[in-house]
Symmetry: C2
Subunit: 449 residues, 2 copies
């Protein structure tokens, strides 16, 4: 059996009773983290543009909920708007070796479809696991060459979202094969927007979630797809990768739970900045160094960081600031924190941050690059104003599986996310947290949030 068909067989056979307790626990934690991100994006550009588009093109009401404004609509438009808002503040989860943000695409599609289909909490968790396990393996399969040009969360995200919805619908192996074909041939999204402060990152997660819904609903109705969309001679890897590894598609299915390897984001910036941010924070705390005492910082990074971050020198928007290594390290050095509030209030306007930004440069590091993307190593070298050369290293950025966030830390992050947009009060946040920690017992999801 070829790897794509083996993956489809696994997805079809995956049973809730098969899921280890740790997977269910982490599934709920990832859902809470996604929910916080989706609410944190409420009201912020470009989310209202997606809300207005849904209003113009979609039905006036419906069973699926747009989290940012509470409106009911069809599953397609709820997935679209929630996919946009949950990726906006750059606090959603990330899987390292696939470089995929699974939550923003999987939960945006799965919750919308679950509300439409009257699914239970157990159904949603099982669907999410299917989406994570498939999406992560497909991302790993597409390889590093893919990520150089393509935004994996956009391309592979379409397949991950589709798989989650297909699982909600109880697809068999043949349907999952069609589904991968139908979702895969819609896979799109390139990095070019980054240098322009464009809104495409939200468009990407929105479209991946929504097109995943489209692929699943049309497959359920009988739309036939390519049988080897991933590995075929004219498939995704042939067109968009030069280092695809078919073996990754069915890597230890049912034994390795890739969902457990997913990282929570701690800093509110692009994940490529986190290892250096953690290393710099450790160094400055260890040495008792203040930002004025730093003459120069070299962040030793993998090539992917240079590809994604390299082109923003002086950010002009908060979103660009999250992709500016100098700005992120500036916030860490000057304020000890690079959370949403620091980005909004200080990243563009604080002269100390701007001054620190000028001291930072990135340098390709072969050792860091070789470990990537399985591990995201943080290495910085600092030259102090009194002439000392100092170095620090971290091997597991905060939020990584080996250094994960506890439930209390996740609850605190969730409340920070809600407070940032003002979408919910602290009390409402507490109620949401309580409901998510009982997700597996929920009989209906229409009023969950």
């Amino acid at each position: 059996m070829n790897p794509t068909h083996a993956l489809a067989a696994f997805l079809a056979g995956l049973d809730y009773r098969q899921l280890p307790p740790a997977v269910l626990d982490r599934g709920e934690e990832l859902f809470l983290d996604w929910l916080g991100s989706a609410l944190a994006g409420a009201g912020a550009r470009p989310v209202p543009l997606f809300e207005r588009y849904a209003q113009r093109m979609g039905p006036a009401s419906g069973p699926a909920k747009i989290l940012a404004n509470g409106h009911g609509t069809s599953a397609y438009f709820a997935a679209l708007v929630n996919g946009a808002s949950s990726h906006l503040v750059e606090q959603d989860d990330l899987h390292n070796s696939s470089v995929l943000h699974p939550g923003t695409v999987v939960f945006s599609a799965a919750l919308a479809a679950a509300q439409d289909l009257n699914s239970t909490g157990k159904d949603l968790l099982l669907a999410a696991v299917a989406g994570y396990e498939a999406g992560i393996r497909i991302g790993e399969f597409m390889g590093r060459s893919h990520y150089r040009i393509f935004h994996t969360t956009a391309t592979v995200g379409t397949l991950a979202a589709a798989v989650a919805v297909g699982k909600l619908m109880g697809f068999d192996q043949a349907q999952f094969i069609h589904l991968l074909g139908n979702a895969g041939t819609q896979a799109a999204g390139v990095w070019e927007f980054l240098r322009d402060a464009a809104d495409s990152k939200q468009l990407h997660s929105a479209k991946a979630a929504a097109d995943g819904v489209l692929a699943a609903y049309m497959t359920a109705d009988g739309l036939a797809g390519a049988r080897n969309i991933l590995e075929g001679d004219q498939g995704l890897a042939a067109g968009m990768s030069t280092d695809a590894q078919p073996g990754r598609l069915c890597d230890r299915l049912g034994e390795r739970w890739a969902l457990l390897e997913t990282s929570f984001k701690f800093h509110a910036s692009c994940r490529h900045t986190h290892p250096a941010a953690d290393a710099l924070l450790r160094l400055m705390q260890r040495e008792g160094l203040r930002h004025e005492q730093v003459a120069q910082v070299v962040a030793h990074v993998h090539q992917g960081a240079i590809d994604v971050l390299g082109r923003v020198d002086v950010p002009t928007t908060v979103h660009q600031a999250k992709f500016s290594m100098g700005t992120v390290l500036g916030l860490i050095a000057v304020h000890g924190s690079a959370q949403l509030v620091e980005f909004r209030d200080l990243a563009l306007s604080d002269p100390n941050v701007a001054a620190f930004r000028q001291k930072v440069r990135m340098q390709f590091d072969p050792q860091v690059d070789a470990a990537y993307p399985a591990r995201w190593l943080g290495r910085v070298t600092v030259t102090s104003t009194d002439g000392r050369t100092l170095a620090a290293a971290i091997d597991d950025p905060k939020g990584d599986p080996n250094n994960t966030l506890s439930r209390p830390e996740l609850e605190a992050k969730f409340q920070r996310l809600l407070a940032f947009s003002g979408a919910r009060t602290v009390e409402q946040g507490q109620a949401l947290i309580a409901r998510v920690w009982q997700l597996r017992d929920a009989q209906a999801l229409g009023d969950l949030v």
Copy 2:
């Protein structure tokens, strides 16, 4: 000014009064041809799947019309369903050197948006010209390497559709730049489905038209896109082409009317089979040869024909039969015609066609390949059962700009398309023809069809 920005400036400045009469005439002819294709697809799989999806996810009514069933919906869903149905019977127009089917994406998006926006016939024609001129040049820019893996009508079609809608909305240069970014980063669709009798070709044209609508409406509302989505370091050409030619993007803008180079399809098969079909027909008529007298046929073809057609040996569906060189030449040899009716009634079941199919093979021809895609040369060599070797050549397949269809021929084709699906009577077809020949004077398009 870089080529993308020059193209955007041209699109913004394009004025109806600037369009030569021949462009307006051909625009109406292409619209009629598209309309016939959209109606010919009514009722046939997978079009009803798209209709049901629009019903499930879209509004219950709206100003834009689904041609296949007459329902009103929003512009997004009308573009989606009409994009599917107008590409189904493989009779829609094709531009040679870009290998783009412009009509199915441009008119599906533009008519839906024009009905939503209360545009006039002049608006629609101007929008279509913008979509054709941009889409064709972007297709040429992406080059032959792109078409090897990617279905240009799906990828570039998204941009062509978006440009047409942007022109309806009166975009300025800056908006067209954003629009290209927003549409381009949604560009998707690979050829892998062809070997599987999958429904992806209709999914591609449907999604290109619909995502073009999405890109335009959201750009109008302010969604910012990448400024160099085509030529940028992480743009479409970087990710999906190895032979992109930036100069093609603004090739003789305002002087060369690429729309006039678009071919009408005569045979109801994949366009890559047409040159050989015309050459074989000429040879058999010239020699007075009957199909039983043919021992072997070699079709001398360009590489693209082998890439697209090569993998279907014995078709199992009518759609696959249209991509089977042996079947197409079999219909020509046995029945003298390869129209929709022959495909439906004879392509899979006639033993004479099946026998002839076995006699056909394709052979790469350097001269034919060198001329492609600017010209699609037809070259066949036939070995007769009495041992003669016969050859024939045509340089302009029927329907090409140098051998185009007259208005009476287009009207006859239109009526054949309507009769095929039974979507309209002959009298209704006559009334539609009359209205389309007065498209430039139409004040409203809501009830045009």
